[in-house]
């Protein structure tokens, strides 16, 4: 009986001790982890808004630049990031999050549009679980560059703002190259980016235009 009691007390003390140590480490690093996440998101936003940031920019530089040039506004539960010119007066672009189900896991990205919401300026994907070398290629410049300059318009019925078609010549104005060998990921991206763009135009943009 005494052995049992000792065992229980031992495990309890051990668990308590290590739980405390782990929690202490977690708390101590919490702020850093939050900052990292914040900076990571801000880097992406600055990138799609076309605000230059040199490659080895430190966390502080990112935070400062973001503070200076971007203003987040809440529009109907969506956060819209407004990019301003150097003089802080003119609006140069709007950015907002896009995301949805990828093939293997959720995919998160940022898209930016010009101040009249007539064209896409850029897109970037910053989190996904797609297959390296295949679906993961959505982060590569050749893929994301295709979106630059794409005209935006509210679509009717079955139509889409853009299509991802198998790579090759002979494409229409709003047909982009899908990723060879990654049909699932390509279809997923086509679905949710179109959906989010459409939602932006129909709901968010109307409210922004009104003021």
């Amino acid at each position: 009986m005494k052995k049992r009691l000792y065992s229980m007390v031992f495990m309890f003390v051990l668990t308590f001790f290590f739980a405390a140590v782990v929690s202490a480490v977690k708390v101590h690093n919490e702020e850093r982890i939050q900052t990292n996440q914040q900076v990571k998101l801000q880097r992406i936003i600055l990138a799609v808004l076309g605000i230059p940031l040199h490659e080895r920019a430190t966390n502080r530089e990112v935070l400062e630049t973001f503070e200076r040039r971007v203003k987040p506004i809440e529009v109907k539960q969506q956060t819209l990031y407004v990019g301003y010119a150097e003089n802080g007066k003119q609006i140069t672009a709007y950015a907002f999050a896009v995301g949805g189900a990828g093939f293997w896991g959720p995919v998160y990205g940022m898209v930016s549009v010009d101040p009249e919401a007539s064209r896409i300026l850029g897109i970037a994907f910053y989190r996904h679980s797609e297959t390296p070398g295949l679906g993961a290629r959505i982060t590569e410049p050749w893929f994301t560059k295709q979106f630059a300059g794409l005209p935006l318009f509210p679509v009717e019925g079955d139509k889409k703002i853009f299509y991802l078609k198998p790579a090759g010549p002979g494409k229409g104005p709003n047909e982009l190259d899908a990723i060879t060998g990654a049909t699932g990921t390509s279809r997923a991206v086509e679905t949710f980016v179109n959906r989010d763009l459409d939602r932006f135009l129909r709901e968010t943009w109307k409210l922004v235009k009104k003021g």
């Binding site: 782990v22 679980s129 297959t131 060998g181 699932g184 997923a188």
Partner: protein
């Protein structure tokens, strides 16, 4: 949130994203036991059962206990405890109802607890944000995939060691690894099969 339906996920977890051949998990017992097909089969079934159930249990523990209490960084400890407890339960059941199997498997049954694949499956389903049904399909599929891999490579290895004269040093782990590599290569051929809608 993920688009893939449970059936496709099950198929994919067995073939295109095999937890052993693609994600390298579950190799240790694999290299040790893949001698006799019958014991490999018994172990495989046990692993399928444990993996499926712990995938579901860990999903529930994570989303209904850890996250609400903001203790998600303790998930490693909680998951491994759940796995250990469950394996203990399975061990007791097997000893009671299938004593022959119990003697065949011996030490390998409790070793299921430290099988990287079991913990790995739970961790993957959290990262990929699967739903409960998807977790169930993924757990089952991963287990079956592991079993298929271990039996296939074991069978090949047995055959090779019996019929071929091997160069010095190749016998044992080196051979198993190379066979596994070829099998992994073969399985990548499946990646073109998955079609969505």
């Amino acid at each position: 949130m993920v688009q893939v339906d449970a059936g496709t996920l099950l198929f994919a977890a067995i073939f295109t994203n095999n937890i052993l051949l693609t994600n390298f998990l579950g190799l240790c017992p694999f290299l040790a036991i893949s001698r006799e097909i019958r014991s490999a089969l018994g172990l495989g079934v046990a692993v399928v059962f444990v993996m499926t159930c712990t995938a579901v249990l860990n999903y529930l523990a994570y989303y209904y206990v850890l996250l609400p209490l903001n203790l998600d960084h303790f998930r490693y400890i909680v998951f491994i405890i759940i796995i250990a407890a469950f394996v203990q339960l399975v061990e007791m059941m097997v000893e009671r109802f299938f004593p022959a199997l119990y003697y065949i498997l011996g030490i390998f049954l409790p070793l299921i607890t430290v099988n990287c694949a079991i913990l790995g499956a739970s961790l993957f389903l959290i990262i990929r944000e699967y739903t409960l049904v998807q977790s169930l399909a993924y757990g089952a599929g991963s287990g079956i995939g592991w079993m298929v891999a271990i039996i296939a490579v074991g069978a090949i290895r047995e055959k090779v060691q019996k019929s071929a004269k091997l160069p010095k040093g190749l016998e044992g782990p080196a051979l198993t690894l190379i066979i596994t590599g070829i099998m992994a290569l073969a399985f990548t051929a499946f990646s073109g099969m998955i079609q969505i809608q």
